[in-house]
């Protein structure tokens, strides 16, 4: 027991230590990419309206023409101290973007992830349990279609059907304009804020706005989960312990759910965890499609405005989030499966 604890502690420390250079490389890459890309916020806003000389003067006044090493040193220094800066174009702190727009992405991602699990796991289990039957074919086909269909295409179709044609659901935004104004934003997670405020009309407004983007994004992720659950279930169904369970006369339903399914979940947890990390950054297309005011949409807006302080701040947070989540997943796996531990 003592030996196992030491090994796990070493693994945890090693994994955390490896995260530091990973984040450093990511920060450097983000910085370099943003400086290599042409344009700057001033020419994006005023180009074509003032002379190149005037633009150069303004760039100088804003400090955009400082030596790149000086800018890099400032950036890394600020990043180390947790100061990701203020956007060049609209003077917002990166912190406020994270609290206002990051929470929108988090809310969408969590709900989409719940939908992905709610759809992906049962369909995957059914497909695995009834292998090579019409249920299996249907489940696999569904998984392939929802995964292969581009999110903007699925989203657009959903907008046309449930928004334009049927008029059931709003097609854009996180909440109606008036609710947006009147809502007391304690956590900036609107489902929670409306519950805290006890404003059920606003809660329902939030739910209505969430349905289309969350279902669209959730279905996309469910495609991966369906295939993953199915394949792993089929693998575990071949295990000796499953045969043994059957030999003991346990019902097929119990064999699948209590023996095969639980073991099939181990790799699913790993991939699902990583999917969630990717979801935080990968919700951009969904946010763009549904005008969802998440951090991905803001990233695109700042990219268009060449606001590299904003872009590098947001990407830095994304990068750190992905690294941290992958570390957490590795640690969870290490707890679950001793074979992945070092030493």
């Amino acid at each position: 027991m003592h030996g196992q604890g030491t090994s796990l502690r070493t693994y945890v420390l090693t994994r955390l230590a490896l995260a530091v250079p990973t984040v450093f490389v990511l920060l450097t890459l983000v910085f370099l990419l943003m400086r290599v890309a042409p344009g700057d916020p001033i020419s994006a806003a005023l180009g074509g309206h003032v002379s190149q000389q005037e633009l150069a003067k303004r760039r100088h006044a804003a400090g955009y023409d400082k030596p790149i090493l000086e800018q890099y040193a400032t950036y890394m220094g600020d990043a180390v101290t947790g100061n990701l800066g203020t956007t060049l174009t609209d003077h917002r702190s990166i912190g406020s973007i994270l609290s206002e727009n990051g929470t929108a992405t988090l809310e969408l991602s969590v709900i989409a992830f719940i939908i992905a699990l709610a759809v992906g796991i049962p369909v995957g289990v059914l497909a695995g349990r009834f292998r090579d039957t019409p249920i299996d074919v249907g489940g696999r086909l569904f998984g392939i279609v929802v995964y292969a269909a581009p999110v903007f295409f699925t989203g657009f179709l959903a907008q046309l059907l449930f928004g334009s044609a049927l008029g059931w659901l709003p097609t854009s935004g996180r909440v109606g304009p008036i609710t947006e104004f009147t809502l007391d934003k304690t956590t900036h997670i609107y489902l929670l804020d409306t519950v805290i405020a006890g404003d059920w009309s606003a809660f329902w407004d939030v739910v209505k706005h969430l349905i289309l983007p969350a279902v669209t994004l959730g279905l996309l992720i469910s495609g991966i989960i369906i295939r993953l659950v199915r394949v792993n279930l089929l693998q575990t169904m071949k295990g000796d312990y499953v045969e043994a369970a059957r030999a003991r006369g346990i019902s097929e339903r119990r064999v699948v759910m209590q023996h095969a399914f639980r073991n099939a979940l181990v790799p699913v947890v790993t991939v699902a965890g990583l999917q969630f990390a990717i979801l935080l950054g990968g919700a951009i297309l969904t946010e763009e499609t549904f005008n969802w005011p998440g951090i991905g949409g803001e990233l695109v807006r700042y990219l268009n405005n060449r606001d590299y302080i904003a872009v590098q701040g947001i990407i830095t947070v994304f990068a750190i989030a992905v690294v941290l989540i992958s570390v957490v997943i590795d640690l969870v796996n290490a707890f679950i499966d001793p074979r992945v531990r070092y030493g």
Partner: protein, 527 residues
């Protein structure tokens, strides 16, 4: 997770969809606010509501609703009229004196006097924000406030555009003292702005919405016709269009593609209203790079292109009639605008005249042209517009056109630093005066860096800015526009009207469509 849990989750999701289908109202306007709330949807996002930090249309659209300027372009007008000022006049060619109205107050109840005006201009120059418009005040030597109601500008040289500059939203008046005084050396946060205009900013969430509420202390003669105006931001025109169709917003402005407008015209409960606009698109020739062995040949090529382009076909085929052909860089609706290109070359294309001009100058045909455009910055129609121009020029048999494009981030710098021989550009007004559409383009060493120089033009430009006599200015601008049509440093292509999609029951939108190019929320009402 067992089957029961999965089943419950699936049922819950299904139930949510069904109930949503039964209960959704779709429109936010029905969820509260009543007739006193107007919701405008737009893809234009402001960068700041501090006048000292802005030089862009979306920010000006917010500022015009919150602050007063000394002078303003009234709805439907095209000349400066008093706003916070009672009167403004030149007392000599380099001294401009304004007397303030008595009783002006900011929305926090503090008095607005000459000290605030002086502070606002001095602050603008001092901050000199990289995204601000302090450069427009280059002619201001100093500003003084001899008494509470008087402001005097001392100019470095005579400047007839000064009254128009007093209408620019970047020079709106901000409080100098009191609990809401603006800092003298940095920008005020947009959520904390205070002005003396029609509204206060009740909420500002970048990328999401700005909520304007009626300023109960507004002392002007035309108070807001609504209590609250919400400006909701969208990323894409398609999302804005859906929001208008669903009734989530009352007014959609800006911007829609011609296809979107066509769809909206046939949508239930939506009408498309239009009005005058002063945004223009034009073609620039870099005379250092363009085809032609001599200046005379280059001139002939430019004139031949001007004679071959069919503006009416562009307006109809590409923009479905939402823009109008432009025959001078000074758009119709502005004082002193003429139709110089139509007068010189005719309204439609004249290929025979173009052929003769080229032949007379000894230019071999077909002439190679390399036309550059940028695909999104000036709207989604740019690619079609330049395909249409290519088609027109090549069909004449006089030109061989290569179309090239790149995104704005590279485009503007490359175009203005001698990389493109012929290129697309656009313009919206800093101030609605003909000077803003001529001096910037035709002066020697203009920002276009196109190599155009005509001493006669430079002399006329100096004369028009030095006189405030309208009759004299009209004559001078007539000559300027004639010369521009003869020299063809640029070819005006089209003038955009302002177009909005409006839900039934909403009125007044067309009243804000004029040469000032500002969206005044206070003229809109509902119900």
């Amino acid at each position: 997770m067992n089957r029961r849990v999965v089943g419950i989750a699936t049922l819950a999701a299904s139930a949510a969809l069904v109930v949503a289908g039964c209960g959704s109202s779709g429109g936010s306007t029905s969820s509260g606010g009543g007739g006193g709330t107007i919701i405008r949807g737009t893809i234009d996002q402001p960068i700041s509501y501090d006048p000292a930090g802005v030089y862009d249309l979306p920010s000006w659209d917010g500022i015009v609703n919150v602050y007063q300027t000394l002078l303003t372009i009234p709805p439907g007008g095209n000349k400066p009229e008093p706003d916070a000022a009672q009167s403004c006049d030149f007392t000599n060619p380099t001294t401009y004196k304004c007397t303030l109205k008595s009783g002006n107050v900011f929305s926090d109840g503090s008095a607005l006097d000459s000290k605030d005006v002086k502070f606002s201009f001095d602050r603008n120059v001092k901050i000199n924000d990289p995204q601000g418009a302090a450069s427009l005040l280059a002619d201001m030597k100093s500003i003084s406030a001899p008494d509470k109601q008087t402001v005097v500008f001392n100019l470095k040289k005579p400047d007839a555009t000064w009254p128009f500059l007093m209408t620019v939203q970047s020079f709106a008046i901000v409080p100098a003292d009191g609990s809401n005084a603006y800092p003298a050396d940095k920008l005020q946060p947009s959520a904390d702005v205070v002005g003396s205009g029609h509204y206060t900013v009740a909420q500002y969430e970048p990328g999401q919405q700005t909520v304007f509420q009626r300023n109960t202390k507004y002392t002007g003669s035309d108070p807001a016709k609504n209590d609250t105006a919400i400006v909701q931001y969208f990323d894409k025109p398609s999302a804005l269009k859906l929001a208008v169709e669903q009734g989530d917003v009352d007014v959609g402005y800006r911007s829609f593609s011609p296809t979107d407008l066509k769809d909206l015209r046939s949508s239930d409960g939506v009408s498309v209203v239009g009005g005058a606009g002063t945004e223009i698109r034009y073609l620039v020739f870099n005379q250092k790079l363009m085809a032609g062995d001599t200046d005379a040949q280059k001139l002939a090529i430019r004139q031949a292109v001007a004679q071959t382009i069919d503006r009416a076909a562009i307006a109809k085929n590409v923009y479905d009639g939402t823009v109008t052909p432009l025959y001078s860089m000074v758009p119709q609706g502005l004082q002193f605008a003429t139709t110089a290109f139509k007068d010189t070359y005719g309204a439609g294309p004249n290929v025979a005249a173009a052929k003769k001009a080229l032949a007379d100058a000894g230019v071999k045909t077909p002439v190679d042209l390399e036309l550059w455009y940028t695909p999104s910055h000036y709207g989604a129609g740019s690619a079609d517009e330049y395909a249409e121009i290519q088609h027109q020029l090549e069909d004449s048999g006089l030109f061989n056109v290569t179309l090239k494009s790149t995104e704005w981030n590279q485009y503007d710098e490359a175009a203005l630093t001698d990389k493109y021989p012929e290129f697309q550009f656009g313009w919206y007004p800093d101030y609605p005066d003909a000077n803003d559409y001529t001096a910037y383009f035709f002066a020697k060493n203009s920002f276009l860096n196109d190599g155009y120089s005509n001493p006669q033009m430079d002399k006329l430009l100096a004369q028009e800015v030095a006189t405030t006599n309208d009759t004299e200015r009209a004559k001078i601008f007539d000559q300027i526009q004639k010369i521009s049509a003869q020299d063809v440093p640029t070819i005006p292509i089209w003038q955009g009207g302002q177009v909005a999609a409006v839900r039934d029951g909403v009125t007044g939108v067309q009243d804000t469509f004029d040469s000032a190019y500002l969206f005044r929320l206070w003229v809109i009402s509902k119900g």
